[in-house]
């Protein structure tokens, strides 16, 4: 088994909640921080980060690795990520299975890849290089998407699973993103879920989205909706008590509201496990992700 024991239930760390977290010490098991927010020379952002680090386990979650880009890897960026990781000692480092730009441009979006053998081999090689540079195994997250490419002859779940196995990396499974893409591309979310290798899933994201009538947009600005909770329960049945967090990027509510939503996730996970028995992977056999 490849994944480490569950950290429990976490939240995405957002500036709006900095003072409330320091003052109230909420019962959140861990926080996920946005890597790029702290890739600055100094000052308050890094000072706050280290204060949170003293109080909670932190995971680093990036948006600019552009692992699927046909442009060369940005080694300066990776050097900075590695330096930040050395300072923060995160439980793990993640980014997205996507590309963000080529030719020196960053679109600041998580753009989808064609699911081809060429792209697969390209991403696998780059994940290996990144893991060598960072000296640790990384997690890749599935993104929401709105387009599918004519060239794709693999499903997204085949593509993600193959990369994880061939590159020996881990998976950050965003349950909301599976749901959004399932609606947009008219596939079965459960088929996706059941194709993902259990021993690769290190973390789960929960979030909300926006319904635009004929399609969904992954806006991360709503509470987790019922269909995503249902899919999460199915994920718990398959993957067990994986470290889970709620991600809210816009219309950020008071901390207490997110903590209540997190309590719901915790209770749902416990109920699901109680009803379905123990997770498949016994914790004793799991080893740390950082020991790659």
């Amino acid at each position: 088994m490849l994944t480490r024991p569950s950290l429990g239930f976490g939240l995405g760390l957002r500036v709006d909640h900095y003072e409330a977290i320091l003052a109230e010490r909420p019962a959140v098991d861990w926080f996920e921080v946005l890597t790029e927010n702290y890739l600055v020379p100094g000052g308050k952002p890094l000072d706050y980060l280290m204060r949170f680090r003293e109080r909670y386990p932190l995971a680093m979650h990036g948006v600019s690795m552009s692992i699927g880009s046909s442009a060369p890897l940005d080694r300066d960026y990776l050097r900075q990520v590695k330096a930040l990781a050395a300072r923060v000692e995160p439980v793990w480092v993640s980014d997205h299975l996507c590309w963000t730009g080529i030719a020196g441009r960053n679109t600041h979006d998580l753009l989808p890849l064609p699911y081809t053998e060429e792209a697969l081999a390209h991403v696998v090689a780059r994940v290996r290089t990144v893991q060598d540079i960072l000296g640790r195994r990384i997690l890749l997250e599935n993104v929401s998407s709105y387009v599918a490419f004519r060239d794709s002859h693999l499903s997204e779940w085949e593509f993600l699973s193959e990369i994880a196995v061939r590159a020996d990396c881990l998976i950050l499974l965003d349950v909301n993103n599976i749901y959004v893409s399932a609606i947009n591309h008219e596939f079965k979310a459960l088929e996706y879920l059941h194709a993902i290798p259990v021993d690769r899933v290190q973390q789960i994201h929960l979030a909300g989205h926006e319904n635009r009538g004929t399609y969904l947009v992954d806006t991360h600005d709503h509470p987790v909706p019922d269909p995503v909770w249902e899919l999460y329960a199915a994920a718990v049945r398959r993957f067990g008590a994986v470290s889970t967090m709620i991600e809210r990027d816009d219309h950020i509510p008071p901390l207490a509201e997110l903590c209540a939503e997190l309590d719901h996730a915790r209770a749902l996970c416990e109920r699901t496990l109680a009803g379905e028995g123990a997770p498949r992977a016994p914790p004793a056999t799991r080893v740390a992700a950082r020991a790659s």
Partner: protein
């Protein structure tokens, strides 16, 4: 070119330039046609960069109403791609853009406010450094003083302003009553820096500005004294040099002397 590179090139050309070549690579459905699907990305790209400008220039966004700021953001985004891994750095050319774009050259205050906000952000997250103490400075012998050169906290920035931008910025960010925009008789030198975690700014006299700029250019203390001597005369220069240096040390501007 690989197929992957071709698809990504067409996709990026669509986002950045509105090129239609990507449509040939994308599958639509009856329910959601290709144009709608691609439009999600195109709209998100422009909205995200416009939001970044608003986040990076909040006072400017407030000074302009949302429609005017939206127009400015649209102009800027369509002519400025991002090359940064962090969106925090998007907008670094906005002051220059405002000072040269014909729609905005009649309002030079806007470019100055943008330059001010960008400088404040630069001071906010500049690298940390330990300030030099008075005690450390006292360790130099009288013979060493004329040759002493100082190194500066990475947050220290100088800016000259023709308008009452800092006063406007304070009112805009604190949401207090805004003073009328007014032009200075001559540009006022301002100093921005961070001490510990707090960002400060103050205006400088012309003499202090010249001395500080010279010191940051690497002039040794002896030459700074000579500069002050030329400006103020021999009687006042030594006292003024000591006063300025004490003030710079007190504010944490200086991090080394050698």
């Amino acid at each position: 070119m690989s197929e992957l590179a071709g698809v990504q090139g067409d996709f990026q050309d669509y986002l950045l330039r509105g090129s239609a070549a990507i449509e040939a690579h994308v599958l639509g459905t009856v329910r959601v046609p290709v144009a709608t699907r691609l439009g999600v990305y195109g709209d998100a790209y422009r909205a995200r960069l416009a939001e970044a400008l608003q986040a990076n220039f909040p006072a400017l966004a407030q000074l302009l109403d949302s429609e005017d700021f939206g127009t400015l953001a649209s102009h800027y985004v369509s002519s400025h791609d991002s090359s940064f891994f962090s969106i925090r750095y998007y907008g670094h050319e906005l002051p220059q853009f405002l000072s040269t774009h014909p729609d905005y050259t009649d309002a030079p205050l806007l470019a100055e406010l943008a330059r001010w906000e960008w400088s404040m952000t630069g001071a906010f997250d500049a690298a940390d450094a330990t300030p030099l103490t008075h005690a450390a400075l006292a360790g130099f012998s009288p013979q060493q003083w004329p040759q002493l050169r100082f190194s500066w906290h990475p947050s220290v920035a100088r800016i000259g302003l023709g308008w009452n931008v800092p006063q406007l910025w304070q009112a805009l960010t604190a949401d207090t009553e805004r003073p009328a925009a007014s032009v200075n008789r001559e540009p006022v030198p301002w100093l921005l820096w961070r001490q510990q975690l707090t960002t400060y700014f103050r205006s400088l006299s012309a003499t202090e500005a010249r001395a500080l700029d010279a010191a940051r250019d690497g002039w040794p203390f002896g030459e700074l004294c000579a500069l002050l001597c030329d400006e103020l005369g021999e009687a006042q220069a030594p006292v003024q040099a000591a006063t300025l240096l004490r003030g710079w040390i007190d504010a944490g501007l200086i991090i080394g002397a050698a």
